[in-house]
Amino acid sequence: MSRTLAQKVWDAHVVRQASGEPDLLYIDLHLLHEVTSPQAFDGLRLAGRAVRRPDLTIATEDHNTPTDNLLTISDPVSRTQIETLRRNCAEFGVKLHPLGDPQQGVVHVMGPQQGLTQPGMTIVCGDSHTSTHGAFGALAFGIGTSEVEHVLATQTLPQSTPKQMAVTVTGELPEGVSAKDLILALITQEGTGGGRGYVVEYRGPAIEKLSMEGRMTVSNMSIEWGAKAGLIAPDETTFAWLEGRTFAPKGQAWDDAVAYWRTLATDPDAVFDKEVFLDASSLTPFVTWGTNPGQGASLDSSVPDPESFGSESERAAARRALEYMDLQPGQALRDVNVDVVFVGSCTNGRLEDLRTAAEVLRGRHVADGVRMLVVPGSAAVREQAEQEGLHEVFTAAGAEWRFAGCSMCLGMNPDTLSPGQRSASTSNRNFEGRQGKGGRTHLVSPAVAAATAVTGHLSAPADLAPAAA
């Protein structure tokens, strides 16, 4: 029978199937971080259980870590959480990349960069943006702490079969329009619940042309429209990116792996439960104006009138969002001034993202009164960026060059917005207070973030005056 990519990966991992019960799926890779794991390890200890496969489990420190230094975690509660992870990993034999380790970083950046993420795998993590790894053709999804404990104890998860959706992106992205704009536009088109219950496969010419970084940006935000996971079929781009990385297979094993990975693509006559289309050539830089990632619009447009929405629940949500965001219907999005620009996160904290932002900032300066933070997604990204001299471009422009971590994406560490402050952020969530209590977030691409830092209001690079030579 014809199957989709996701179905093939699923089928290859079924440990046990029984009618009326969810399938029991084997998990190839379990990623851990300090926030969603302590209670899971506690559960193991209470039940006297071990970690079944420490060799398929890896941990990093990211959510709570400081980005201004590598030594001192000033908040004692954050410190305790980090220390708890270190103790748990030592006790249960789990490999950990602690603060200061060359591979430390945001969990969804550090996994792929080491070649841990490979096509055809099942990958879970106590973090909703685990969907990121789907960019490699892996079935990857976020889980709660009870499930973290379940995977630690059994290396499996009971899962009900999801529905299958195809998102076909035709055409070509215009110059200056990125993977981030694409996914923000898609979420606005489909709504925050549009993907619920589905595993989504992104495909079509515009997806095939994306770099692995761009694909990760798209897959990363699958959860923002409710999808269980988002996958992209592995192809030459995937293989070229993976080859030679620490955990990628070598020699004959590499050839065998590639041969297997090529078989994973969705069969031509496979049937999806739902299909969605998007024309990439019609897209423009895209920003959010509201308090969920589905409340977005083209940067060229203006803040919508809440009364223009179809349902009362959307109208009420838009009214509430505009009040929280302190915006007026009809206000041009380009007229929205920001206080802070954040470049980073598992959505846009990779080397390519930093290169894009640096390109815009080269020979330019961050506007007076605007604070710009550049937070690499991992220590390795930071290292590579420094080898390319990107840090000098950022600091010369007046931006802060920080250490790796989640940082202002969720504001668990000291990098937060103050009440009423407004940010342009390359992260993935514009929820109320996400970046700090009372903070207001506009989600943007790295290029828009950098251009916005220069002008002080939401902008695209095309709006900027030529840079100083």
Binding site: Q39, D55, I143, E147, P158, N292, M412, F431
Partner: protein, 195 residues
């Protein structure tokens, strides 16, 4: 996990959609390493507003939360479920949930009932007219009853059975340890080994 059969209690009407888990419990509360005591974090930003519905004394002691669509979207933090449980909620009713939140809730004995928007509207109206109205949530019959009305809800048989029996997932899976061990002998050999 406590068994869940029928729960009767009063409700709080939360007339909001897209209540993401960052709103249910903000990230600052996620620094804790314990599994209980999260009631102070529940909707903590909204609770600072005296007019927020949870601050209305008429709803004190309510154990059922009735919310708009897309409840529990966003972050996977199970702390959102712990906070609702710790605060005293046993049931949430909403037209649609975030998937991960829904999964987490059913593992922690918090029954997340899916009812159509019209039913939610009707419940809001009932509760606002009489905050003391008793709402009966019957998992056995898969039905919500209040004010002379009743609404059927769907929940898969397996999740329902686990809730009714109060069964722990890990224990259930470990019954199949042989199947897991057998599967491990036939996994593709080029899989990653971290250690």
């Amino acid at each position: 996990m406590e068994k869940f059969t029928v729960h009767t209690g009063t409700a709080v009407p939360l007339r909001r959609s897209n209540v993401d888990t960052d709103q249910i419990i903000p990230a600052v509360y996620l620094k804790r390493v314990t599994r209980t005591g999260f009631e102070d974090g529940l909707f903590s930003a909204w609770r600072e507003d005296p007019s927020f519905v949870l601050n209305n004394p008429v709803y004190t002691g309510a154990s059922i939360l009735v919310a708009g669509p897309e409840f529990g979207t966003g972050s996977s933090r199970e702390h959102a479920v712990w906070a609702l449980n710790d605060y005293g909620f046993r049931v949430v009713i909403s037209p649609r949930y975030g998937d991960i939140f829904r999964g987490n809730s059913l593992k922690q004995g918090l029954l997340t009932v899916e009812l159509p928007q019209e039913a939610v509207e009707a419940l809001w109206a009932l509760v606002e007219a009489d905050p003391a109205v008793q709402i009966e949530v019957d998992l056995e019959a898969r039905e919500v009853r209040a004010g002379g009305h009743s609404w059927a809800f769907a929940l898969d048989d397996f999740s329902r059975w686990r809730l009714l029996e109060g069964l722990d997932d890990i224990g259930l899976t470990l019954r199949h340890e042989d199947a897991i061990a057998e599967f491990e002998t036939r996994r593709p050999s080029f899989g990653v080994l971290v250690g």
